[in-house]
């Protein structure tokens, strides 16, 4: 579509303005995290350029975080997210592959069931599930933190859509060559499916990284707290060290940001699959 030069300038200015406005709080958090303790306030009233330029600061807030419960939380968050990706894919991949390539009676019913159940919002049933976990002796355990995130119908859906796009001739050729179903999946299909695996993996990761209600209910002892809970607890202490809150917030933000930097394309493509074809 052709556009006048003036139009391009106006639209570009609008896009830059929107991007800066959305990004500004994150940047402000980063700069404030380099101001020891609550000293960021000195740059706020009146607002100084030092509130947005990270010069003259130090990393005391970050070293302060390292000696507290936040470090344990961060370790737990990584552990739980890593287990969720590995086990979540191990469950979703075979399920999606069976749905995409095996013609068996009741397949339509099973697929509909998975899609419908995937639409039950997890947080709505988190509270009843947490009382069940108490009965099942799973509260306050890593298993308790990981298990609910493994039931991810959207990951199955995304992988199935991708597997459907792999040409049937390729799978038949593998079969003719005497490759079994599992070997075909492992040696032929999975190497072709990196974008979908990354997309589904990101969905599993973010579902865990962003969780708050469930880890609050289940990871009750300090040794099993996840990072967002540990950070929120820091913010409700009698004397709040906002510098540490800034630093912790920035750490929890930069980690998924870096992952998205690499995998944004695969992740957003997987997301759009769930939105448009569902």
């Amino acid at each position: 579509m052709r556009r006048s030069r003036g139009g391009t300038v106006v639209l570009t200015a609008a896009a830059i303005l929107a991007a800066l406005a959305v990004f500004l709080p994150v940047w402000w958090v980063f700069v404030s995290s380099t101001r020891p303790g609550n000293s960021y306030v000195e740059n706020m009233t009146p607002l100084s350029w030092l509130a947005f330029v990270p010069v003259g600061g130090d990393l005391t807030n970050y070293s302060g975080l390292l000696s507290g419960p936040f470090l344990t939380g961060l370790f737990n968050s990584f552990l739980v997210a890593g287990l969720t990706i590995a086990l979540g894919l191990a469950i979703a991949v075979p399920a999606a592959y069976a749905l995409a390539t095996i013609d068996f009676p009741g397949r339509g019913v099973v697929f509909t069931f998975i899609v419908v159940v995937a639409m039950i919002p997890f947080d709505a049933i988190a509270i009843p599930l947490s009382s069940l976990f108490q009965d099942w002796h799973l509260s306050d355990s890593y298993a308790g933190l990981v298990l609910p995130a493994l039931a991810n119908g959207f990951a199955i859906f995304v992988l199935r859509q991708f597997f459907l796009g792999i040409p049937a001739e390729l799978l038949e050729a593998a079969e003719v060559d005497g490759l079994g179903r599992i070997a075909t999946l492992w040696r032929i299909v999975l190497p072709l499916s990196k974008p979908a695996l990354i997309g589904a993996g990101m969905m599993l990761f973010l579902s865990q990284w962003q969780a708050y209600l469930w880890p609050l209910l289940i990871g009750t002892s300090p040794e099993r707290q996840l990072a967002p809970i540990a950070l929120a607890n820091l913010s409700t202490l009698f004397t709040v060290d906002l510098g540490q809150i800034f630093a912790g917030s920035f750490v929890l933000t930069i980690i998924p940001m870096v992952l998205l930097l690499f995998f944004q394309k695969q992740y957003t493509e997987s997301l759009s699959t769930t939105g448009l074809k569902g």
Binding site: L11, A15, A18, V22, F23, P25, A98, P105, A124
Partner: protein, 309 residues
């Protein structure tokens, strides 16, 4: 849903009749084996808790003995006649009625803007997407510091000559403040779905419209927006479900206050179940929440479908 495309592929396999039956039993077993971990997980982690919420909502758990007994509809009648619950419903509904349309409109506007061919547009789009990666609890913490008396927002207000605002500590501004942080965290995420919808609109439509001399606004209202109805409907529905379940900012920042002005339904459920120890009433409220969501999603589906016809 496109189950049909899948059937076409595998149905075409030839096989002898006797061998075929044996083979089909075997393949069914293989398929079920591959599916069973996922199905077991979905049933135990999603379906069972839903059923348990319904059955627990008809029971009363004694705080003193821990014994649970059937109690009919009394949890529901208690909730439905409780004025505290009425105000929770009003706060939740008003909050959603304002928040969700605002998110849909803003994310559509940003999608239209960043889907244009502009210098460095990928960078601007990524910057808008960044908050989508920030965990909800961290969004709450970032904005609670930004909305402090000496935080970022008041500092910016001062620069343009406006008086400082109380935000989270004022009954009239707290819900609005939570709305701001939720919008900030959600915009980029929903924008992605609208952009995907934009990419599905064939270029030929725009070319034809340009030949007919249709201007930018005309193309927006006659082609783009009508064809965006499906992704926008999806965003509205999914976003409504998410906002009804909003919990982290309320629990971390306001605990439902000041004066119950941010007492959204998820926090009220948490509050009744864990802080007041009223498990039966909490589960009844979970069931009401799920019914409410089902009704709202069904109504939105119906309205958006009719509009299309």
């Amino acid at each position: 849903m496109r189950a049909a495309t899948a059937t076409r592929r595998t149905a075409a396999r030839p096989a002898g009749s006797g061998r075929r039956r044996r083979r089909s039993v075997r393949t069914t077993l293989v398929a079920l084996a591959m599916l069973s971990p996922a199905l077991i997980a979905l049933v135990l982690m999603r379906v069972v808790p839903m059923i348990s919420a319904v059955s627990e909502s008809f029971r009363h758990v004694s705080l003193a003995t821990g014994a649970s007994e059937f109690d009919g509809l009394s949890n529901y009648t208690y909730l439905l006649t409780d004025s505290g619950f009425h105000s929770v419903l009003v706060v939740t509904l008003v909050f959603n009625l304002v928040l969700n349309p605002a998110i849909v409109l803003l994310s559509t506007a940003l999608a239209l803007l960043t889907a244009q061919r502009l210098p460095l547009v990928g960078l601007w789009r990524s910057m808008i997407f960044v908050p989508a990666a920030v965990p909800g609890a961290v969004v709450a913490l970032i904005w609670s510091t930004a909305l402090q008396p000496d935080g970022l927002v008041n500092a910016l207000l001062e620069v343009v000559g406006l008086p400082p605002q109380p935000f989270l500590t004022s009954a009239s501004q707290a819900a609005f403040s939570i709305g701001i942080m939720v919008t900030w965290g959600a915009l980029g995420y929903w924008m992605i779905f609208v952009i995907a919808g934009l990419k599905d609109i064939p270029d030929s439509l725009y070319e034809a419209a340009a030949l007919d001399g249709a201007g930018w606004w005309r193309r927006l209202f006659s082609i783009t927006l009508p064809l965006l109805k499906r992704p926008m409907a999806f965003v509205l529905i999914a976003c409504t479900v998410g906002s009804f379940l909003l919990f982290a900012p309320v629990q971390i920042l306001t605990k439902g206050g000041p004066n119950g002005s941010t007492n959204l339904i998820m926090f009220d459920i948490y509050n009744r179940t864990y802080l007041l120890g009223d498990v039966g009433v909490g589960q009844a409220e979970v069931v009401i929440l799920m019914l409410l969501l089902a009704v709202i999603v069904a109504v939105q589906f119906r309205l958006l479908r009719e509009e299309k016809a």
